[in-house]
Each structure stands twice: as C-alpha cells, then as structure tokens.
C-alpha cells in the first residue's frame, strides 16, 4: 500500500520564538515554507521547557499575524495560568487577525509558570477559586469551553442594516452555560472569526476522547519528533517517526522539534525534510482547518439560551 505522505509541522521553543519575531529575514523565510503549521512556544507544554527566554505566545502570534501573512500557527497554552474565558477571547481575536491561520494547542501545564502555594492547580495562582487539577481532563475541558464560547456568537450575526439601525442579530448570540470542570456563562464579547471556529488540539500521548480537532502525541493525529532522533533521509525514518508502516494507522503529521539550536539551523533541517520528498507540502496562506482537511465543527446545540433580546428597528428620537 502506498503510504500517503505526512504533513510537516514545526515546534518552536522560547528562544526560537524570540528569533522568529526579531529577525525579518528568518521570519520571511519561515512564512514562505509549505508547512502545515508551527507550534509557537511548544516547550511550554511538551515537557522540554523552560528555556532561559521566551515570549507570551498570543503576543507573538499577534505580532506575526501582521508581519507574516502566510504561515499557520498553533499557540501552545494550558489552563495552568490561563482561564478558558480569557484564552477564548485571545484565540478568537487571533482568528480575526490571521484569517483563520491560527489555532490553539492545549497542554496540561505550563513549564514557565511560577511556583507558589496554589501553583499546582489550574488557575490556582489567580486565587479566584479552588482551581482545577492539572490533568489532561482539565486541558480538554478548557478546549471544549473555548470551542463552545467561540460558537456562541457566530460571525454571520452581523447584518448592518442602516434602515432599521440594527448592526447585529443579537438574539443569535447565546450563553454557553458551561458546567463541570469549569463554570462559564458566556457569551464572549466578540464574534467568532469569519473563517469559522478556531482549530483546537490537545497535546497528549494517551488516546483520550477529546471532542476537539486533533490530538498531538503518540499515535495521534500528529506527533512531535526531535530532529536529533530521526533524519529526513533515513529509510527507516517513517518507522521512527510515529508509526509509518504499511499497515497501521499513521500519524497524519510530523512536527519537527530541535530546541536550543538557532532558528536558522532549524529551518535548514526543515528544508532537508521538504527536499527529501517524504513529507507533503501544504500551500501557505490557507486557513488551518482547510490546510489540515479537518472536519467541520458540529453545530452548537439548539437549546442554548439567547443572551440578548431580538433587536427591533428603533424609532428616530
């Protein structure tokens, strides 16, 4: 059986993220690569951090949204010190600025988080409640909450009718009424991106039932491999790189990681993989969901409470 070639992604650690955002030439080179996506700040959640320096991944992604118009990114985050409501706002906002080229990869804990009395709880340091356990269950719950919040205000509610004075069909905005690990009423105070709900993944080596878009980890939709461990030209590269034999289900993607080397050197590695023909190229510029050929997100439940009354044309004063 002919194996379909896997897509190629990239994982950047803190110092590489700093290089990416400060070196125009490297950034432009990266922006033009036919990668599936780049995980920004992967070392926060993949067990390899912390490094000596880093950036907030949403700040970096916002900066790159303007300076790099083609690359696709997954921002690495966790519920460790990010509440899903706040994270949802930033994820949805990024979706607007990137045209759907951004998404979210959730891990269990953030390697850059500080220690403290409540540091072993998700959202513990904010001291606004007991927090939640730092487990993949919490990460998944956070991802599902963010998904629900983004769906709560569809972009299509913009009607902009100057005759009636109605800008948004506000009765189509619904509360999320999330319960369980998180209690979040919603709605968000911004609509979801016009490209649709953001791609959300979870980082886990366990085959968890996540209800999101993808799992990155052993035998998952994609797997992170360290460049040191495998060579693009190696005939057995497939076998090492997450299950590439002729019979098993393979990971659809390989995400290259090589922390603590320069970004330029890492991009040279990427070039090697692309030139080897063992991975498939994905044209830069398209949104993440289309690029990864992900299934559409199921419609939101139909029984959610409207957050606002149906707008009516208003009389002139």
């Amino acid at each position: 059986m002919t194996k379909s070639r896997r897509y190629l992604g990239l994982a950047l650690d803190g110092p590489q993220l700093l290089e990416l955002t400060s070196d125009d030439a490297l950034r432009d080179r990266w922006d033009g690569l036919p990668l599936a996506f780049t995980v920004l700040g992967s070392d926060r959640i993949d067990g390899s951090g912390p490094a000596a320096t880093t950036l907030s991944v949403t700040s970096a992604a916002a900066h790159l949204a303007y300076r790099a118009r083609h690359a696709r990114v997954l921002i690495a985050a966790s519920p460790h010190y990010d509440h899903p409501y706040n994270l949802a706002r930033r994820v949805a906002s990024l979706g607007h600025f990137t045209g759907g080229r951004s998404g979210l990869l959730l891990g269990v804990a953030d390697a850059y988080a500080p220690a403290g009395e409540r540091a072993d709880r998700a959202w513990g340091n904010a001291n606004l409640g007991p927090g939640a356990s730092l487990t993949v269950t919490t990460a998944i719950a956070a991802g599902q909450a963010i998904r629900s919040l983004e769906l709560g205000w569809p972009f299509e509610t913009f009607i902009g009718d100057r005759e009636t004075g109605i800008l948004v069909q506000a009765d189509q905005i619904v509360y999320s009424d999330i319960e369980g690990v998180y209690e979040i009423a919603g709605p968000l105070n911004l609509p979801g991106p016009p490209s649709g709900p953001s791609v959300i993944g979870v980082l886990s080596d366990d085959a968890v039932d996540h209800g999101l878009d993808l799992r990155i980890g052993a035998d998952g939709d994609a797997v992170i491999i360290d460049v040191d461990d495998v060579d693009a030209g190696d005939a057995d590269a497939d076998a090492d790189a997450g299950g590439a034999d002729d019979e098993g289900v393979n990971s659809a993607g390989i995400i290259l990681r090589h922390n603590a080397i320069s970004l330029g050197a890492l991009l040279n590695e990427v070039d090697g993989w692309l030139a080897s023909g063992r991975v498939r190229e994905i044209t830069p510029g398209t949104d993440l969901r289309r690029a990864l050929e992900l299934a559409p997100v199921p419609a939101r439940p139909s029984d959610l409470r409207p957050a606002f009354p149906a707008p009516a044309p208003h009389a002139a004063l």
Partner: protein, 430 residues
C-alpha cells in the same frame, strides 16, 4: 497657576471601537464587520501615527454587552489587537486595558511585557478592576468582590506585576511574593523592552483608585466635566504622587473628551444630532441610569432631577457605576439645574461621563490650550464620535493648529511611550 506653561500636551485617542456614539457603525465609510476587520484597526494605528499622537487606548472588560445597535460592545482582546497594530506602526504608544480582578498576575505580566518588547517599548497597561455579576459568572463566581476588596487585590496585583517586570529588566532573578491575595515564586523570562517595561495607567476615580494612581500610575485616564473639578483632581493626584516620594511629573493626567467636530459649530452640532438620532433612544437614558445608579427611565423627562437621585448612592460597596463619573455628573447637574430631557440633550454636546466637545478644530484647540494653561490637564484622551473620519480631522486639522501654537510635536523625537510622556510639558507650579 502663575506664568504661561511651556512644552506640549499629550494627545491620546480612546478607540471606542468605531466611535463613542452607537450609530458610528452606520458611517458609509465602514463595512458592517469593521469592528473585527484587521484593515480597520491597521488604519486607526496608521492615522494616529501620521498625526504623531502619543498613544491609542483600548478599553476592555470580561463580559458581553448587547451589540444589536452599537459596535462598542464588540471587543477584540486588547493585547492581540494592539499587538497587531504595533507590528504595523513604529512610534504610536499602545495602551491595553486589563483587569486585575479576573487575570493571573504572572500571566498578565508576561503578556504585557511581551507586547512591550515586541512593540519596541510602546506598551501601556490601563489598570482597571471589574464589577458586575455578568463578568463573575464567566469565571465560576457568583459575584465580584465589593469595591474596596477589588482595590485591595488590584494594589497587590499591580505591585507583583511591577516586581516581575523589574526583575526581568534588571536580571535580578526570582521574585518571591507571599501576599494576602497572591503567593508566587518565579521569574519572568521575557526580555525587557526598549523602555524596560510597560507604562502604568489607571482610570478609576474613587478614593482608592486615586490612591493607586498617586502611588504608582504614570498616567491617569480621568473623567472631568468641569475645569474647576479637573484642576482640583489634577492637584490632588499630583499631590499624592509627591507624598509617595515621586515627582509630580511622573504621573500625567489625561481626561477623556468626547468629540464631534465640524468646519462650523453648526455643522458639528448637526453631525452630533444626526448621529444621536440614528442611534437607539435607550442609549442616553441607559447610559445615565448606569452612571448614577438610578433607573432614569422612571424620571419625568420635563422635570428637574429629584433630590434623592442626586444624593449620594446608597452603598458605595454595591453601586456598580464609577464613583468618579457620578461625582462629575452630579456636579454638572447641580451647576445648571436642567430638566432630565435638557440634561440628556445637553450631554450630546457636553459629554456623558467624560466631557464632550462639539465644535470646530480651532475651538477644540482653544479648549485644549485653555485647560492646559489652567493646570487642569497634561493632555487629553480624545474620543471621536466616529473614528474612521473623525480621527483624520484630529490629525489633519487639530494637530496642525496645536503645532502652530507651540503646543504639540512636529515629529516623533521620542520612540517609546514613556519617552513620549517624559517629553511632554512638566507640571506647572501651583
């Protein structure tokens, strides 16, 4: 104040999404989804920078308001929005509002310092606390802490963030903080910015808010309806800064100013009237109700305000409005004793919470100059009725007048937000 003041004013723009008036979205220059269109936001940043303005501000809060008739409740997250705009500009300061009530101090410190680093030292943080059940229910809480508690948490939150920033700037290593609200031991690994760390601004007019301002803020975004009160508050906050061992020049006072401009006063009033009339009738009444803590729809429109409405709110701990705003409004009503209808109409021209200005660019320059030389302000945070054309008028017509009068820069000599503030006029001697 004796002697004419030298130096220049500070000019910011409070970007109330499309404009402070609900009908701003109806401008023929805007698409219906302009509020979330990156091209709109890029244009705002570019226009403000073309005018060599000091900063653009973005308000924020973690709860939803009804966007049916008004784009103002549509809130892109400020650090993302300004991160994008900062990448598209070189000199304009970018001030993001973020709440101390519903954030993690380490995460927020990291994110704001990152914005500052990436923007080349142009970031500011407008410190607010959050009120209201709607926000609390987004974080699994039944309600928000009482007002004083919010400010206690805010004070510690701000101190911790500043400690983290300073440790990142001077490389001093780990910060250990065991406080009433936060217990943290860690190090920010974000590099310092060109201005070391973000500028701190504060917008609350309550006594605790002013206390915070005097102690640590570098900018105060205030609400002043009258020059007399503005001068009083200016001296108060500057005095608080001195009491805290700071120079009065270390804190800049920037009241908001709602604007409708036209080439004649009549044209400006007509523009304001048309925009008000195109918006929902509930806008003015709803705003007033929220601001004074009394349901204004119950008032007789053609009668003066009843005394019990003007009296102090029943419980400062539970009143959800801004104490500073309420103070300004009550002072204004007592000064002119209007009927409710007259006051609502008056606020079209004179301001709702913030002072309003309806007139020509020349008149606005006169107003700015008058308040500046009177020692009422260090600058203004301008709030155009419709930004997509109103900001161009500020840049192309108001700024040139101010420059001719020696009141504003001709080009950017400074390139960080702290640098912009430091280059402005010093505090006049009282």
């Amino acid at each position: 104040m004796s002697g004419k003041r030298s130096g220049h004013v500070i000019l910011g723009v409070n970007v109330l999404v499309l404009g402070y008036l609900p009908a701003s979205w109806q401008s023929p220059l805007l698409e219906k989804d302009a509020s979330v269109d990156p091209r709109y936001w890029e244009r705002i940043g570019a226009t403000a920078e073309r005018g060599t303005l000091d900063a653009i501000f973005l308000a924020d809060g973690p709860q939803a308001g009804d966007p049916a008739y008004d784009a103002n409740p549509i809130r892109l997250e400020p650090t993302v929005d300004w991160g994008y705009v900062a990448a598209a500009t070189d000199n304009i300061g970018v001030v993001a509002t973020a709440s101390t009530t519903f954030n993690d101090p380490f995460e927020l410190a990291e994110r704001l310092l990152s914005l500052d680093h990436l923007s080349g030292g142009r970031a500011g943080w407008n410190v607010v606390t959050t009120r209201g059940v709607n926000a609390a229910r987004n974080f699994g809480l039944p309600d928000v802490p009482f007002r004083d508690d919010r400010y206690e948490r805010a004070a510690e939150f701000v101190d911790l963030v500043r400690a983290l920033w300073r440790s990142a700037a001077d490389g001093s290593g780990e910060v250990t903080h065991h406080g009433e609200f936060f217990d943290i031991q860690g190090r920010l690994r974000v590099p310092p910015s060109l201005q070391q760390y973000p500028v701190l601004l504060q917008a609350g007019g309550s006594p605790k808010g002013r206390e915070l301002a005097g102690r640590v803020a570098e900018g105060v975004f205030s609400a002043e309806l009258t020059k007399t009160k503005a001068i009083e508050h200016y001296r108060l906050v500057k005095g608080l800064a001195s009491k805290n061992g700071r120079s009065p020049d270390d804190v800049k006072i920037l009241p908001g100013l709602l604007l409708s401009l036209g080439s004649t006063e009549e044209e400006a009033r007509r523009r304001s009237d048309e925009l008000h009339d195109a918006g929902p009738a509930s806008y003015s009444v709803g705003w007033l109700s929220q601001a004074i803590g009394y349901d204004a729809s119950k008032l007789e429109l053609d009668e003066p305000f009843p005394e019990e409405v003007l009296a102090a709110p029943a419980d400062p701990q539970t009143f959800l409005g801004s104490i500073g705003f309420r103070e300004s409004i009550v002072a204004q009503i007592r000064k002119t004793n209007p009927t409710v209808r007259e006051y609502l109409k008056q606020t079209r021209y004179t301001g709702s919470g913030h002072a309003g200005f309806v007139g020509t660019p020349e008149q606005l320059a006169d107003h700015i100059e008058d308040w500046f030389h009177s020692g009422a302000i260090d600058g203004f945070n301008l709030q155009p009725d419709v930004l997509v054309d109103g900001l161009d008028v500020i840049v192309d017509e108001v700024v040139p007048i101010l420059r001719k009068r020696g009141l504003y820069r001709h080009e950017y000599d400074t390139h960080t937000l702290r640098g912009h503030f430091a280059a402005a006029s010093p505090t006049p001697a009282s």
